[in-house]
Subunit: 245 residues, 2 copies
DNA sequence: CGAGCGGCTGTGGTCGGACCACAGCATAGC
DNA sequence: GCTATGCTGTGGTCCGACCACAGCCGCTCG
C-alpha cells in the first residue's frame, strides 16, 4: 500500500460518511500529513489525484476559497481521460463518433418525447423550454457574420452539449461534454479538409434548426435521424474517421 | 501554469506525436525533472496523475517492467471517477441505469447486426464467435450450485461487459465496465430487497440465454428489447431506482 | 474618531537533497 | 560452468526550507 493511497481512502471514506461534503475543505496538507503519519509530499500526490479526478479544487492564499475545496466536476477529468487515451491511439476516432451518435440521437429522441408529453398533458416544462431557448440562442450566435471556424465550432459544441442536456441525464450530458472537449482540437485540425467551409457552415446551421424543430414538435424518430445524419455527415465531410493524420 | 502540468503537456504531446507509445517507458523521474527544468516532486505529482488516469503504470526495481510504463487502461480511472461522484450524490442512480440500458441495448443490437452480416456474407468473424463463447462460458459458471449472490453478480457483471464488448467499441465497452464496477457495491446491498433470490437468479439466467440466442440469430431488435427488459426488470425488482437507501 | 495601509498568518507551490526498497545484471569467486 | 554477491538504476518516502498568494487585523495617520 503506497502512502498516498492512504489519503485517497481517507477522503473517500469521509465523503461516503458525510464527514466531507460539497463545498467543504480538506484539512491542510501539513495537518493531513501529521494525522496519517506520512509526509507532506505524499499528501500532495494524493491531492493531485483528487484534483485530477474532479473531487477537489485547490487554490493558494487564505479565506474560504483557498485550500482544497470539495467540488463535483466530473466533466473536466473525463475530458482529460479521453484526450490522453485518444493520444495513445488506442481509442479510435470511429468509436468516439459512434458514441456521439448514440448518445446524441438518444438525447434528441428522449427530449422530443418530453416535449410531446408536455404538449399532451399540458404539463409545466418551463425548465425544458428554458434549456431549449439556450440552445436556440446559440444558434442565433452561430448566424453571426465573420465567425472563424474555431468560434463557430465552439458554439456548435455548446449547442450539442445543450441538446444532450435536454434529456435530463447528467451522466450522459457529462460524457457528451467531455467527448466534445476531447476532440475539439482534432475537429479544428480537420477543417482544412473541408472543400468549402462557408458552404459547410450554412449546411450545419440548416441541420441544427431542423433538429430543434423536430424536438420541439415531439418528432422523436425524426430528431434522432437528423442528429445521426448531422454528425455522421460532418465527420465524413471532414474525413475525420481516423485519429491518424 | 503549475509545474506538474508541464509534464502532462509534454507526455500528451509525445503520445500524440508517437514519440511515446504503448509499452514504452517514460524517462526516469530525475531525467524528466532535469529536461523540463523542474524538481522531482513536481514530476512525481504529474506521474501520479497519469497513473490515476490509467496512462502509465509504475513499478520499482529495474528491467523492462520497472519505471513508468505506458499503458491504456481507461476503465479503472473511469470506475474511480464514477464511484467518487456517486458518493457525492450528484449522480442519480436513475441516470446510471438509464445509461446502462442505452449502452447495452445498443451493443446488443450492434452485435446482432454483426452476426447477421456474418451469416449473410460468410465472413470470418472468428473474433466475434470467440467473444460470444467467452460470454456463454460465464453463463455456464452462473449455473453452478451454491453460488452466493456476490459471486453470481460478479459473473453477471462480467457477462454484461462481455456483451458490450461484442459490438467492438472500446469506449462504450470501457464505460460499461466502469458503470458495472462503480455500482457493484450498491447492487449487492440491494439484494436483500429481492423477495426471493433463488427465483430471481433463475429468471436472470433464462433472460441471459434468451439475449445470447437473439444476438447469435441476428435478431437485433429482439436482443435490444430483451436487454432493456432484463436490466430494467432487475432494478425494479431490487428497488434500486435511487441512490438513497 | 475613522479610514487606509502594511505587516502577520496560514494556505498551497516548489525545490534540493537525502535515504530506502526493490529488481536486474555484471562480475568475481568457487 | 555455475553460483553468489555487490553494483546500478528505478520508484517510494521523507525532511526542511523558501516562495507567492490572499485574507485578516491592528496600527498609524489624517
Amino acid at each position: 500500500m503506497k502512502n498516498y493511497e492512504l489519503v485517497l481512502q481517507q477522503v473517500e471514506a469521509d465523503l461516503a460518511a458525510g464527514r466531507l461534503r460539497l463545498g467543504g475543505r480538506l484539512p491542510g496538507e501539513r495537518a493531513l500529513a501529521e494525522q496519517l503519519g506520512i509526509s507532506r509530499p505524499s499528501v500532495r500526490e494524493a491531492v493531485r489525484v483528487l484534483e485530477a479526478l474532479g473531487v477537489v479544487r485547490t487554490a493558494t492564499g487564505s479565506g474560504p476559497e483557498a485550500g482544497a475545496v470539495i467540488v463535483a466536476e466530473p466533466s473536466a477529468p473525463l475530458t482529460a481521460l479521453l484526450r490522453l487515451h485518444l493520444a495513445t491511439s488506442h481509442l479510435p476516432m470511429h468509436d468516439i463518433v459512434q458514441t456521439r451518435v448514440l448518445l446524441e440521437s438518444w438525447s434528441a429522441q428522449e427530449a422530443a418525447g418530453l416535449f410531446a408529453e408536455k404538449a399532451r398533458h399540458e404539463v409545466a416544462g418551463e425548465d425544458l423550454v428554458a434549456k431549449l431557448a439556450v440552445a436556440e440562442e446559440l444558434l442565433e450566435r452561430m448566424d453571426g457574420e465573420g465567425l472563424s471556424p474555431e468560434e463557430f465550432h465552439l458554439l456548435d459544441a455548446e449547442f450539442h452539449v445543450a441538446l444532450a442536456g435536454l434529456a435530463g441525464n447528467v451522466l450522459i450530458a457529462a460524457v457528451m461534454g467531455s467527448l466534445r472537449s476531447a476532440i475539439h482540437g482534432y475537429v479544428l485540425a480537420a477543417v482544412p479538409n473541408l472543400p468549402n467551409w462557408d458552404a459547410t457552415a450554412i449546411g450545419l446551421r440548416t441541420e441544427h434548426r431542423a433538429i430543434v424543430a423536430a424536438i420541439r414538435d415531439g418528432q422523436g424518430d425524426d430528431a434522432a435521424r437528423l442528429v445521426t445524419e448531422h454528425i455522421e455527415g460532418f465527420y465524413r465531410a471532414a474525413r475525420l474517421s481516423s485519429p491518424t493524420w
